[in-house]
């Protein structure tokens, strides 16, 4: 059986009776079993997946109504709650936390008969861009297992890229879907802020992050978006997208569209191979009838600083609840005074989480907020104004997803600032709430390069049309694993 098919092909083949969901899921689990030792995408696998797939097959056979996923095996980043399943955030703090409820995206996927094959790896609490900060060990890039897969949704990208599932859900706070998608050569999507409910996504920086799909094709992303987007009474920040169908008209093309090339994202510090890939992509888009022009977003130069200030502030608050009193890991509270217990209990956070929480305690504090946090908020609103101005002139913006190629595991882990700077091209979409996609574009010396497109808020459909058009111009190598 061929596991190397897209989500839409899977649906078609199960519908046609060419394959059964049970067989496909079983083969997928076998593959995970055989290759995941090398990749470490999965933190744990769902033992009931085959049974669930079998039940869906029965439904299909009996002619009763079947959801749009038809038993599709999907992996979930382990910072989203699945009822009665462990949800660890790749942290020792939540090592034993079993979620008592489903995230909204999980509820929606269950309703459409998806099968969750397992929970996948991430940097602890989604803080990082390599998965090296996972408390349970780094994932490996399937294109070259000595290299990082990107992050924080590294497990999601690896599992999709290496055919350990058909699609995955990640979360993107500053590039955490798009970055690993670029490094592993899959499609990664960060929707307009509010398009997908965050209910059940464990918050890191709640005011800018979104859940997003990682898939093999742009159409698959549209398919996933159709299922998981929309207004949710459990998340007050969700937007009504009026049940938009992102698949319909996805092949509309981009003739006549205006595309701005973000100058601050193709300048100094961009790897020459990445730069030439970007130029290649631009000329392909022009060949399809789009016009591309330079555009400058001046605030981008402060965006990474603003991003880390805001995310640390929110993380310091969002992660404060992990005092181990109500849930967490095994460590008795007896005999401790409250504050000393918390201090001890929180030692189980890993180094990157600790670093950001310490920053998060400092930058918004009474004596320093003016110098740091409030300035960061100012940068955020100025950047938003700038990008809104740009979208008056352009339909889309383009830049490389990541300014550099994937690097080796361990290469940068001791240099947090240089790691932070890799986010330069992705954080703008989060700070401004705009939708953004990374499309796998080329492989350079065996390492993938992704191209990033951005659109204005709620122009997700247009963004997917453009990404689809670009995707049609390229033929990708198959992953060597």
């Amino acid at each position: 059986m061929n596991l190397k098919i897209s989500a839409l092909e899977f649906v078609q083949q199960v519908q046609n009776g060419n394959i059964s969901a049970e067989d496909f899921v079983a083969k997928t689990l076998e593959r995970i079993q055989s290759i995941d030792d090398k990749l470490h995408a999965f933190l744990f696998v769902n033992e009931k997946a085959i049974d669930q797939a079998r039940d869906i097959d029965k439904k299909i056979k009996s002619g009763s109504k079947v959801g749009a996923c038809f038993g599709m095996p999907i992996s979930i980043k382990d910072n989203m709650c699945i009822k009665d399943s462990k949800t660890t955030c790749a942290s020792k703090m939540l090592e034993n936390f079993v979620a008592p409820y489903d995230a909204t995206v999980i509820t929606k996927l269950k309703e459409q008969d998806a099968v969750f094959v397992g929970k996948v790896n991430l940097d602890e609490f989604a803080m990082g861009l390599t998965t090296e900060f996972s408390a349970f060990g780094s994932s490996k890039n399937p294109w070259n297992t000595e290299y990082v897969p990107g992050g924080s949704s590294g497990g999601s990208a690896v599992s999709v890229s290496a055919f350990e599932c058909v699609a995955s859900l990640g979360s993107d706070t500053g590039g955490s879907v798009r970055n690993p998608a670029s490094f592993c050569s899959v499609v990664g999507y960060k929707p307009t802020y509010g398009l997908i409910s965050r209910y059940g996504l464990i918050s890191y920086s709640n005011s800018i992050e979104q859940i997003g799909p990682l898939t093999r094709t742009v159409k698959d992303t549209a398919f996933m978006l159709n299922i998981i987007s929309g207004l949710d009474p459990n998340d007050n920040t969700t937007i009504d997208n009026k049940n938009e169908d992102y698949l319909s008209g996805i092949d509309s093309g981009i003739e006549g569209k205006k595309i701005g090339i973000i100058q601050e994202m193709v300048g100094e510090g961009t790897d020459p191979t990445v730069l030439s890939a970007t130029k290649d992509a631009i000329s392909k888009l022009e060949n399809l009838g789009a016009t591309c022009e330079d555009v400058s977003l001046d605030m981008v130069k402060y965006s990474v600083a603003a991003y880390y200030t805001i995310t640390a502030t929110e993380a310091g608050s969002n992660l404060a609840r992990y005092d181990n009193l109500r849930y967490g890991y095994d460590f008795s509270v007896e005999g401790y005074e409250f504050n000393s217990y918390i201090a001890k209990a929180r030692r189980n956070f890993g180094p990157e989480v600790k670093r950001r929480m310490i920053i998060g305690g400092f930058v918004p504090s009474a004596g320093h907020a003016g110098k740091y946090f409030l300035k960061a908020i100012k940068v955020k609103s100025k950047l938003t104004r700038e990008i809104n101005e740009a979208f008056k002139k352009f339909d889309l913006l383009i830049a490389p997803t990541v300014p550099i190629l994937p690097f080796k595991i361990g290469e940068k882990i001791n240099d947090p600032v240089s790691l932070f700077l890799i986010d330069i091209n992705t954080v703008t979409a989060n700070l401004t709430g705009k939708p953004s996609i990374s499309v796998p574009f080329t492989i350079s010396n065996g390492l993938p390069i992704g191209i990033q497109l951005l659109a204005d808020s709620m122009n997700d459909k247009l963004l997917l049309q453009a990404a689809y058009a670009l995707e049609q111009t390229i033929t990708l190598q198959e992953v060597p694993i």
Binding site: N79, M80, C81, T87, C89, L94, F97, A99, P100, Y101, A103, R198, Y199, G200, L201, I202, S203, N206, S207, I208, P233, N234, D235, N236, T237, T313, E314, G316, S317, A320, R321, D323, L325, R326, Y327, F338, N339, I342, G361, P364, S365, A366, A369, F373
Partner: protein
């Protein structure tokens, strides 16, 4: 000069659900940690879901206290660690980045004093700590999260109070006002909790935290003023500090904590978008607000000619004014107002008695009708009321069971009158020469009938007999 400022936390006990989830706002009927869910427990991944009704009710409170109401409100996070706080931050409101709290400046008149309101904010109540064991040894702190997330309105005043009595008068008025708005039952245990800032003679400000009831608030303020005065008289410096109200010993105790130094790292709660309260919504809320106590009072005086004193008492208590509204007609209004304020209020003068009481508007209506038609004397009506409150039986049943009906049968009454005339010959003579003294004889008839003689009929018959 003594300066007192208050921060009053009022639970919106009449709401159905908590501020950010569908657990019950009325947590009191639950076993420990039964009224909880992933949201109010702050479980990983849960998000607050704002109770729109709470926003409306809090806006009404702001309006009733004559506060400005901004067009856009926002929520903020107040970050600090405490075991009763499931998320280790509280979702609350503040005005440091512009007027975003649900109520801005306002004021109400207390006696002849204007008390200024600084702001009103909507926030979530934390859980409840239960201590077991002694504080020196083996102290165990248990947490009950049933209360966590209950909608609270915090009312902050300017330091406009000068003495404990003004504080008491203010909280009485506030308590009546909240009840009248149908937002809260101030009598519920823990529904009204306050902090007070007290300073005397321009000295340092002392904050008293954690005063669990309005009753104790006055006491706490009184204690603190006395404490500060006694320090002053001995030339001991009053230090600026936070003290706690010890409700067992009824004293304030220095907290000796660094609470004053806490940096709450306030920032916008991103999980709750800005809420727009447009003029139309405000207009609707205003027009749907229950009639205010002062307007009720005015109506009682001007429309029914009820004495001001009675109208004041009647209008300020929602329980009684509701009974009045339901039972009265233009004709019986004054009678019913009297029954309520002179008799009923004395009969059910505690919360428990009020709860157990079986009285309904129909009872009051029947009573007033019967008094006015002479079927029952006021005196007997009092006895009937006592029985009604206890049993809830209808008036006619009570009257026949207790034989409370007026003696209005002419021949029966005549017999009694004749007996009185026979016994009181001297008084009869006097009455004949001086009609003013006839009341004495009426009184005698009343005595014989245990107050059940129809007074008008008695007088008529007596006059006839004396002719």
């Amino acid at each position: 000069m003594t300066k007192i400022g208050l921060e009053i936390h009022c639970q919106l006990t009449n709401l159905k659900s908590k501020l950010f989830c569908s657990c019950k706002a009325n947590y009191r009927e639950f076993e420990i940690n039964e009224n909880i869910c992933p949201i109010c427990m702050g479980l990983p991944g849960s998000l607050p879901r704002l109770n729109q009704e709470a926003v409306k009710k809090a806006t009404m409170i702001a309006m009733a206290l004559n506060c400005t109401t901004p067009d856009k409100i926002a929520f903020f996070r107040k970050n600090y660690f405490y075991p009763d706080l499931p998320k280790n931050f509280q979702i609350t409101q503040l005005n440091i980045y512009g007027e975003t709290s649900i109520g801005g400046t306002g004021s109400i008149i207390v006696g002849d004093k204007k008390i200024r309101i600084t702001r009103i904010q909507l926030e979530e109540d934390p859980g409840r700590l239960i201590y077991e064991g002694s504080s020196s040894k083996n102290l165990i702190t248990l947490v009950d999260y049933n209360r966590a997330g209950t909608p609270l309105v915090e009312i902050v005043t300017e330091p406009d109070f000068e003495n404990p009595k003004q504080v008491r008068d203010f909280v009485n008025i506030l308590s009546d006002l909240l009840e009248n708005l149908e937002v809260s039952d101030p009598g519920l245990d823990g529904a009204m909790r306050s902090d007070a800032n007290v300073s005397i003679e321009g000295g340092n400000k002392v904050e008293i935290k954690n005063i669990g009831s309005f009753h104790d608030l006055e006491k706490a303020v009184h204690f603190e003023i006395t404490r500060q005065e006694s320090l002053n008289s001995r030339d001991i410096q009053i230090i600026q500090e936070t003290r706690h109200w010890d409700d067992k010993r009824k004293i304030t105790v220095s907290s000796r904590s660094k609470e004053e130094d806490l940096d709450y790292r306030y920032f916008l709660e991103g999980d709750i978008p800005w809420i727009i309260i447009d003029p139309k919504t405000k207009e609707n809320l205003k027009s749907n607000m229950p009639e205010s106590i002062s307007s009720k009072k005015e109506r009682y005086v001007s429309k029914y000619n009820i004495p001001t004193q009675v109208a004041t008492v009647l209008s300020s208590d929602k329980f009684y004014s509701d009974l009045f509204e339901e039972s009265h007609t233009e004709v019986t209004a004054k009678e019913i107002a009297n029954i309520i304020t002179t008799d009923l209020m004395g009969l059910i003068d505690t919360r428990e008695k009020r709860k157990e009481s079986k009285i309904t508007a129909t009872h009051l209506k029947d009573l007033a009708d019967s008094i006015q038609s002479g079927k029952i004397s006021r005196n007997s009506a009092k006895n009937a009321l006592y029985e009604i409150v206890k049993t809830g039986k209808n008036l006619s049943k009570v009257m026949s069971e207790l034989d409370l009906g007026n003696v209005s049968d002419e021949s029966e009454l005549l017999g009694i009158i004749k007996a009185v005339i026979f016994e009181e010959l001297k008084a009869v003579e006097e009455a004949k020469s001086n009609p003013q003294t006839i009341n004495y004889l009426v009184g005698k008839v009343m005595q014989k009938t245990k107050g059940k003689a129809d007074p008008k009929l008695t007088l008529d018959l007596l006059k006839k007999q004396l002719k």
